[in-house]
Amino acid sequence: MDKSPKVDQMETKQFTLFDILLTLLTVIFFAFIILVFLMLFTAVSANQLLRQLSSPLVLASIRISLQTSLIVVCLTFFFGFPVAYLLSLKTFKGREFLDSLIDLPIVLPPLVSGLALLILFGGDGMIGKILGHWDIRIIFSQKGIICAQLFVSAPFFIKTVKESIAAIPKEIIAASATLGASSFYTFRRLILPLSKNGILAGLAMTWTRAMGEFGATSMVAGCIPGQTETMTIGIYMNAMSGNLEAAVAVGIILLGFSFISLLILKIRFKRSYGYHY
């Protein structure tokens, strides 16, 4: 067992001028963040909040957001996991290129992503035309919301899982092979359990991102109340039409959702073993 003192256990009790400056800047930053959140809560009373939450349109937007984002989480897992596995463990030509491509939807403005999806799935678009033959319509439908959320949020999952798999020491995987384990057995018994926290963290991030998606979704699905109006689109539409009460009510729910999911992530999915192998 490792008995050597850990660097992170050492404490420095003296504060230098530099530390004080850093602390001051940190306080200003957090004051700004907290103030923004507080303003949301001061905008409506508890009664107004409850009234808005029982409105059919607000309830519909919550239902649509949960429904589409959960489908996106499932799709992300099934398509994203093989991508993360290949990018982290296999060496092949074009890997760097694919790796950079994954980052693109994260840095691309969501409106541009939405525009591209609109062109692709539109009536004259490459895929839109083909799907049109079977009367499948992506644009201005919940399928469009799913496509937009998947495009924007799946890279968060892939990146997190890729890093999690890449952090598994190569010797462990080599040891598994020398013990007679096939690639699938190694995947099932080693890679999956050892990257479990990364997978769960990636799924949580994807879900949070999908729930909060606005730009691409509004381009592809529009904002048909009760049909394609997600929570974020609802906030925008209500705020623009002067119904601040409804916008803030949905905003508070989204904020609570994001905060709780991040908190759970931090508490529950801390790496439990490290690699003290």
């Binding site: 020491p169 462990i172 080599a174 040891a175 013990l179 384990a181 057995y185 192998y277």
Partner: protein, 377 residues
């Protein structure tokens, strides 16, 4: 036969690591590959296990060419330098891993794992996770895991290098005991020559991607064939010598090392390789020098003691004569010196010197051209 390596070549980024390397490890043999760090020892083990593909050459395990076999098809156990235990599995599950992967049934697994837990003395700790184990316990788990599926050979990549001295000696003894009990063929890589001497049936010295000498430990240490092997195994005294005259059983040389300021004459036993040559490289093992306060006649030199380093039960004594440094290893009880500037006699018999022929012959000592008159040119 255990493992045969034939003409293996391997380069990384156009840098040759192994060059036309051939090696045979006998069945049931404890074979140690000894060499400095960065000389390709781990690469060689990786090639044997199928974890690294050679650029050229063949690997045979039990007479079967396995070049195209994936690691999981080679039936070779591997113990890594850093143990490479599965952190989310207990000691028991780590040992059972290879058996489960091979589809062995549950009852048999319980029996086999119990046997290997007993062999490595970890019965009490079978429920612990790797992070709850000491370095030695982790390494014993790794050994049991690699042995549990009864591999044709066990490859070990510097398995003791992360352990403290006491633990290292303990595991070394256990490893010897385990090998005797299982009769498994072991190919073991290390840069520590004392570890190699303690464990090996035979030692291969790897240098610059080639095997320089393959011999039993005794022969490697007392009859090195090249200057590199001599210095690497601690036979520090290597001289360039010029033949003066042959006196039948003995031959007289003048040392002509560049650092020498005066003239030094020494006598060596006559070896067949001396014939027809005026220049010779000679090696003198430090343990064969006697440090004394009186001269012993031939090959006795009054040296100035410049350094004395205690090392376990011995002193490593460095003496200087006419600019030439001589290193001796003497038992602590047999050496008394008051000051580092004191002078002492360094004495050695003509038999203590032997030539570094530099040839890559693989013959046993008695069959070597440098030793045997029948090969005399």
């Amino acid at each position: 036969m255990g493992i045969i390596i034939k003409n293996i070549c391997k380069s990384f980024a156009k840098q040759a690591v192994l060059e036309n390397l051939s090696l045979t490890v006998g069945k049931g043999e404890f074979h140690v590959i000894l060499g400095p760090s960065g000389e390709g020892k781990s690469t060689l083990l990786g090639i044997m296990a199928g974890l690294i593909q050679p650029d050229y050459g063949d690997v045979y395990i039990r007479h079967q060419r396995v070049n195209k076999f994936a690691p999981e098809k080679r039936k070779i156990g591997f113990v890594f330098q850093n143990h490479a235990l599965f952190p989310h599995l207990t000691v028991y599950e780590n040992i059972a891993y290879g058996l489960r992967a091979r589809g062995i049934n549950g009852k048999k697994i319980i029996k086999i794992v119990a046997h290997y837990l007993k062999l490595v003395k970890l019965q009490e700790l079978h429920n612990r996770y790797p992070f709850q184990l000491s370095g030695g316990q982790k390494q014993r788990t790794a050994i049991a895991r690699a042995l549990a599926f009864e591999p044709d050979a066990l490859l070990m990549d510097e398995p003791l290098s992360h352990l403290d001295v006491l633990e290292r000696e303990r595991i070394r003894d256990e490893l010897k005991r385990i090998q005797a009990a299982t009769q498994v063929t072991i190919c073991y890589v290390t840069h520590d020559h004392s570890e190699a001497a303690a464990l090996a049936d035979r030692i291969s010295i790897l240098h610059r991607g080639r095997i320089e000498q393959v011999e039993q430990p005794e022969d490697i240490f007392y009859h090195p064939k090249t200057a590199f092997v001599a210095e690497f195994v601690g036979a520090d005294n290597v001289f360039n010598a010029e033949l003066v005259r042959a006196n039948g059983d003995t031959t007289t040389f003048n040392l002509n090392s560049p650092e020498l300021t005066g003239q030094l004459e020494i006598e060596a036993r006559t070896y067949p390789v001396f014939a027809g040559k005026t220049e010779q490289k000679l090696c003198l093992h430090p343990e064969k020098i006697v440090v004394s306060h009186t001269s012993n006649g031939k090959n006795s030199f009054l040296v100035r003691i410049i350094d004395v380093v205690p090392q376990g039960a011995v002193f490593k004594v460095t003496g200087e004569i006419s600019g030439l440094k001589l290193r001796a290893v003497v038992p602590k009880a047999a050496f008394k010196i008051n000051s580092h500037t004191e002078k002492s006699w360094f004495c050695f018999s003509p038999d203590a010197l032997h030539p570094l022929c530099g040839r890559s012959c693989r013959a046993a000592i008695s069959q070597r051209a440098c030793n045997n008159p029948k090969f005399l040119l």
